[in-house]
């Protein structure tokens, strides 16, 4: 695997269907990028963007597991897409409340940088 040259890699990609671990790796990359955004950002909305990336990585995992377990025929309860739908609904709730809180913080502190928020009450 380590000595794979680029043409060999291209040939492998062209002749092998995408399998479960590849989806898991892509989701892991999305998760780590979201986590890095959460750790690195000063702007609270940047942290929110990182959280959205993490949630999407989770949905991608659910969908990949559902699909490669057999999809619709093997699991007619649609657990994968159902998890996805509920996660998206809860993400919408979370974004609405988080932005309301951020607007309040902006009125109180004059910015949304998390480093400056060190008091509970202004």
């Amino acid at each position: 695997m380590n000595e794979l040259s680029l043409p060999q890699l291209m040939g492998f990609v062209a002749t092998h269907p995408v399998a479960l671990p590849i989806y898991l790796i892509v989701a892991a990359m999305l998760f780590v990028l979201g986590l890095m955004a959460c750790m690195l950002r000063r702007n609270a909305i940047g942290i929110l963007i990182g959280i959205e990336l993490i949630l999407n990585a989770a949905i991608l995992n659910f969908m990949a597991f559902w699909r490669f377990r057999g999809g619709l025929d093997a699991d007619p309860t649609m657990s994968g897409p159902m998890f996805g739908v509920f996660i998206i609904v809860l993400a919408a709730c979370e974004a609405a409340v988080a932005l309301a809180i951020l607007l309040n913080l902006y009125f109180n502190f004059g910015s949304v940088e998390v480093d400056k928020m060190q008091q509970m009450k202004h």
């Binding site: 998760f31 780590v32 000063r42 619709l72 649609m78 897409p81 996805g84 998206i88 809180i101």
Partner: protein
């Protein structure tokens, strides 16, 4: 390699393969910019392409309904909300202060370490794949049936949560009489 034998059951996977790798390039590049771009407006725009690409993944994985839901709610709702948040709370054209170098290296190193750990586990684990994977079919009818039978309680709870969140958000940003 039983996984290869299993995947032969998928017909017409070459086109899906090309689509997958194209989408992967878009998603990973835009996720990188969304996570690490200095300008927050740029990050939100990168998130737009990232979410669209992930909707493409859902189509490839056999749930067109979830893809449409993702585009309507995530791209059309949450992202617009984020944009409003950015433009209401920020001087948007001003760039963020530069991060301190040691924090940057620390975050990048720990992120790479975590990624390496997760990928090692993924590579080592013996993933079981089903022998036959059903061909992509319309999934709207089964999702509708399941929402009103098996998932009725979570469905209602999600509705109540949405209502409470909207009321709470409107309450939080109300104009205060001082």
């Amino acid at each position: 390699m039983n996984s290869e034998a299993a995947n032969v059951a998928l017909t017409g996977w070459q086109g899906a393969n090309i689509a997958f790798w194209l989408i992967t390039i878009v998603v990973l590049v835009s996720a990188f910019f969304a996570a690490l771009s200095r300008s927050i407006v740029q990050a939100a725009f990168a998130l737009f392409f990232c979410l669209l690409g992930i909707a493409g993944y859902y189509v490839l994985l056999g749930s067109a309904f979830l893809a449409v839901t993702q585009i309507i709610i995530y791209v059309g709702g949450i992202l617009v909300l984020l944009m409003f948040g950015i433009l209401l709370t920020n001087r948007p054209l001003q760039r963020d202060l530069p991060y301190s170098l040691w924090l940057y290296t620390l975050v990048c190193l720990s992120g790479l370490l975590l990624l390496a750990a997760i990928e090692t586990v993924i590579m080592i684990a013996p993933w079981h794949q089903a022998a036959t994977i059903s061909a992509p079919a319309s999934d709207v009818r089964p999702i509708g049936n399941m929402l009103l039978t098996k998932y009725l309680l979570p469905f209602e709870l999600a509705g109540i949560t949405l209502l409470l969140c909207l009321v709470g958000a409107a309450y939080l940003v109300r104009r205060r009489e001082r």
